[in-house]
């Protein structure tokens, strides 16, 4: 069994270099297409978006 990474433990995961795509604008576009195609949102990036959902 693995360990769940809590929201407050995501300091390293929230670093820009931890994203799949280096350029932020490109990442937004790719994520938009991914969300539309897969019907799911979120799970990428470390820090919370203020929505209280991640």
């Amino acid at each position: 069994m693995g360990k769940r990474v809590n929201a407050f433990e995501k300091q390293d995961l929230s670093r820009p270099g931890m994203g799949f795509i280096e350029h932020p604008i490109e990442e937004v576009a790719v994520q938009h297409m991914f969300n539309a195609r897969e019907g799911s949102v979120g799970g990428f990036g470390g820090a919370g978006g203020g929505c209280g959902c991640n």
Partner: protein, 177 residues
Amino acid sequence: MKLLFKLILPVALLVTGVAEAKKLKAGEAFPSDGMKGLRIFAEGRGPGAQKGSWDTSKTKGKVVLVDFWASWCGPCKDALPAYDKLYKKFAKQGLVVVGVNVDDELKSGQDFLKEHPVAFPHVFDEGKKLVSKVGVETMPTSFLIGRDGKVTEVHLGFRTGDANKMEEKIARLLKSK
């Protein structure tokens, strides 16, 4: 791509399926003892800022807003000035606001507070003991605590307009004896 997800999904389910830590809920007593002795940040506050460690007698019998934040958390940057306004408005009526920094290193919090100063005090949760104890599930998370020491609201995340709702709740709590 689909094959990749077929491989990743079972592993992800295994990882997220691990039993979660207990989360502090409304109606339960806030573990104020967990704040005892936490280092107070001197950065980002005026020359009279208190130094040393947190004394739990500061919060006894008072309405308290405890905000868990980190320098790397985007919405936390919006929440802190909003809570600062609430602090400035209600401090004379007895509201205590305290920020709990959960960065890995003390210096990250110090640098952040120098850049984003606020009037209310902050403590450093070294080793993330307190944040683990209360089971914060998103960043930022704030706990509004009544005079009886019990949590009246757990506020997850922070969006524009949240401070107004919080203001009403604080005003109501301050009126209660």
